[in-house]
Symmetry: C2
Subunit: 178 residues, 2 copies
């Protein structure tokens, strides 16, 4: 086990800023690139990250700390953000993500006051017993998995443009396309 | 084909900054995480990106524009950076990457003055005929493939820490570990 709260927070602090630098001001062709029907573009991934910061991580953390394993916490709708149509620009979304994350890190530090809190168990509707530290580790890795996804769907746009070099570019190797 | 020089440059400009924000000041445990023997950690990937910016992209571009297909350009040693031992800190490397990239983007704009230059063909030692625009597209996707790699090797550190949530975290699904 490698988990330390301060180190998990290092990731949670940096990802929204790093994504803002990558995506802010990018041409719309990059932002709307996806991997085919039913897949998300970079904008939709940012919507999902904002939605998860609003409705998933901190609410679940509070639920576990208050209820323990007495009742399962509500499932998270991983597709909720797709129903939200809005006129918000991509740059505004990137700012919103940074802002909501900053607030959530403050809440996280307030809620988890001791090593004991990290070991508190809760009742996941599908997995059963889970621990606070697993939830926070998952939050950090969730940031990373969606960062990798954004980078991958952007790269997809140049699939034919790289010519024969595609052979050396792991990011464009998707088994289902082989 | 989606390639446009200005849009490729958007990626080349942003990746070094975005990686600097992600990695700067991270605990050494994150920076030294890897995927097992013979795999690169985040620091080694940055070394490779710096090496490629020094010895690969711009020198190859110049070679193609000067020599055309008359002779094959020299192969790129993709492991050269592993021989370089240094006392340079990670933050210094991240700055070096940003600085060398800035200079290379200036050179790129000077070297490729017209649409015609983008269509110039060269002779790749393994692939045969390649075009300048394919080289530049590959440069951008190379940035993205190694960004995804960095994010993936960092996430690897929490493989056991996420507990049962591993099921939902695509970044930790490596077929060879299944």
């Amino acid at each position: 086990m490698n988990f330390k709260l301060d180190e998990a927070i290092e990731i949670l602090e940096r990802v929204p800023q790093s994504l803002a630098l990558l995506l802010s001001g990018l041409s719309v062709g990059w932002l709307q690139s996806n991997e085919g029907k039913g897949t998300w573009n970079a904008e939709e991934v940012i919507d999902h990250l904002i939605e998860a910061d609003k409705t998933n991580w901190i609410p679940r953390l509070q639920f576990i700390l208050e209820e323990g394993e007495s009742k399962p916490f509500p499932p998270f709708d991983r597709f909720a953000h797709l129903d939200v149509s809005s006129n918000v620009t991509q740059d505004q979304k990137l700012l919103e993500f940074q802002k909501i994350r900053q607030g959530n890190i403050t809440k996280l530090r307030q809620l988890v006051a001791s090593e004991l809190d990290l070991e508190q168990t809760g009742n996941h509707p599908a997995f059963g017993t889970v621990r606070v530290r697993e939830l926070i580790a998952t939050w950090a890795v969730h940031d990373l998995t969606h960062t990798a996804q954004i980078v991958r769907v952007i790269a997809e746009r140049y699939r034919s443009d790289v010519g024969p070099w595609i052979e050396f570019l792991g990011i464009l190797k998707r088994p289902e396309l082989a």
